[in-house]
């Protein structure tokens, strides 16, 4: 039986604004399948984004959705989750939104290990504003503001999340469509900050400038460089050069922020109880 996406799409909201070949739609479908698998209630689920092409996602899906300010998704979601800890809160957005202008909120959400699921669509560029370089634009790559190639080193989003304290970190690509929903499902079920980085393609603002002749070529590159973490364990350093690891990169159990906060309140209000 084919999956009924329309059940989760806001009536009248399609067609979407994304360009033909943009990977954001693949991620949206993955997210919908994951939500379906987890059996989440529409009115008990919130999807929060910042601003950008990726951040348009919440507008299309039929949950409690908020399109906040550029970079503010994690901060907004933190407030929401603290006010209603039983709500499932999911953040979606781009690399520019999440780790450039919103980088500070992102790392602090990771540090607190608050129970959010953050799906970050890393297309290596500020897509919406016309292809300026972001902190995830590879060194030497071309952007509208790096006509001679990008001199900056990049942020590795997954490593950043692990380093900052997120307790579930996974990575996949828009090519690996079926893995997207598996990883998001695991992230939603995980208690604590879950970051799912999806390497995504922006043919309009990134592909065009970087000599990808088609989206298929961009996807193929993702396919070629992706190595599952399990397989990587058996590979040499040379074999891994230029590759990226996919799958669950990090998972640990640590106290979750809302629970710790509730415990503190309980302790202060009931000093004698244990």
């Amino acid at each position: 039986m084919t999956f009924d996406y329309e059940k989760y799409i806001r009536p009248g909201k399609l067609p979407h604004i994304w360009c033909p070949g943009c990977g954001h739609g693949i991620v949206m479908k993955g997210l919908i399948r994951a939500i379906d698998k987890c059996g989440l209630q529409k009115n008990r689920t919130a999807i929060v984004s910042g601003i950008g092409c990726a951040s348009r996602l919440p507008g299309y899906v039929d949950f409690n959705t908020v399109h906040t300010a550029h970079g503010r998704a994690a901060a907004f979601a933190t407030g929401m989750k603290m006010a209603d800890p039983d709500m499932t809160v999911i953040c979606t957005g781009g690399d520019g939104d999440g780790v450039a202008i919103g980088g500070n909120h992102f790392i602090h959400a990771c540090r607190r290990n608050i129970d959010l699921t953050y799906v970050i669509m890393n297309n290596h560029i500020y897509g919406m504003t016309g292809g300026q370089f972001s902190p995830c634009t590879p060194t030497d790559a071309f952007a509208s503001t790096t006509p001679y190639g990008n001199p900056d080193p990049i942020f590795d989003i997954s490593k950043l999340a692990i380093g900052a304290g997120a307790t579930f970190v996974a990575r996949t690509t828009a090519y690996h469509a079926t893995q997207i929903d598996k990883l998001i499902t695991e992230g939603i079920k995980h208690k604590g900050m879950a970051v799912i980085e999806v390497l995504d393609c922006c043919p309009t603002s990134y592909g065009r400038r970087n000599k990808f002749r088609s989206v298929v070529e961009m996807m193929k590159q993702h396919k070629d460089i992706a190595v599952p973490v399990t397989a990587a364990a058996k590979m040499s350093e040379e074999q891994l050069a230029g590759k990226i690891l996919t799958g669950v990169l990090h998972k640990e159990n640590k106290p979750e922020y809302c629970e710790q906060y509730a415990k503190l309140i309980n302790k202060v209000q009931n000093p004698t109880s244990k």
Binding site: G71, A100, I101, G103, T129, Q132, F133, T145
Partner: protein, 419 residues
Amino acid sequence: MANEDVKVGRQAEEDKGALGDSRPGTIKFLTGLGAAAHALRMADIDVASSYPIRPYTGVMMMLSMMAARGELDLEFVHGEGEHGQLGIAHGASSAGARAMTGSSGVGVVYAMEVYSPISGGRCPVQMVIADRTLDPPGDFGSEHTDALSTRDQGWMLGWAHTPQEVFDNTLMYYRIGEDPRVYLPQMNCQDGYFISHIPQRVVVPTQEEVNSFLPPLEFPDALDPLNPLGHGPQIFPGQGHVLEATRVNAMMGTFPVIDEVVNDFNKRFGTSYDPFVEQYKCSDAEYVIFISGGHAFTGKFAVDHMREKGMKIGLVRTRWVRPWPTDYLADILSKFKAIGVVETNNSFGAARQCGILTLEVATTLYQCDNKPVLTAFMAGLGGEVIRLDEFYYMGDVLKDAAAKGSTERTAYWIGFHNV
């Protein structure tokens, strides 16, 4: 309607003999952003700090291309958000560079914290603003509330109404802001889309002419490893008022400098800018539209049309919001019977339910013996075009106000009250 407006715009320019019609130079067809980029190139800026946001962002794309093609020796730095972007510009300027930055809408206000330290440090950074409506919701249209929100931060602040004026202001603002009697940062504003994205004829002078008008920046307080000094110290409250008074004095001291620089510009480049306030068909006017920015273009055409019908209407366009040219405006405005301020901005809950400019105009008139009837026209909000028929409506309200000595409302919402 859109097509008609374009035609109207060019027509209006020709009627007036266009700013600088007779001036020598190369003629280019440039948008407001293109005009800013070319002027910045000719101003030989040293550092540009960027963060993308529509509609201003094109200026950064053009500058990065100019730098890549070797047309401009520029350090191009990308912030990780506007807050960092302004920090970069501040640092560059403190180190003695001619620095520029820019933004639009929410980007302008996201950097709010950094404006006062820049003006307090007396760093003559220039910021190109292409106005955009603030959130929520996401709206790309032009509204001036973004830049007007920074009016209390010690920056010079003014609007151009054509790409030519953007070009010219860029050069004039640097020279004013970098004058040793001033040392203040400047916001060089243009309406998003209406000016930033619509190409018009721009006369571009030669590099030699620009060089002789705008000498290289000399900033005696620049950080220098051989002569170390500290910027941004912590002070005691008792020292605060002295520093603030110094900054106020610097701002008030811009008046003679603006006058001098604009007149020098006119002399060199054959232009006819009024240093502070443009008066259009005002000599025998009984009532006027007061305006700032790009909609003045349509406004002038509307005034022509209303004049043909025998109405004694004019248009007053301020070229500055900071410093606010109080005395000039008091002289000009107190002559009229009625004034309608076009507010392409909003200040929710302000006195008389008007916008930001009316507050300033009302304060200006308070010192005058003759107090014209004053009302606000909240128009172009959300970036909507202000149509000719809407200007005609304003004209009718003002004519009536001049005859009766009063208006029905302190603020008319165009799009509601005129329908």
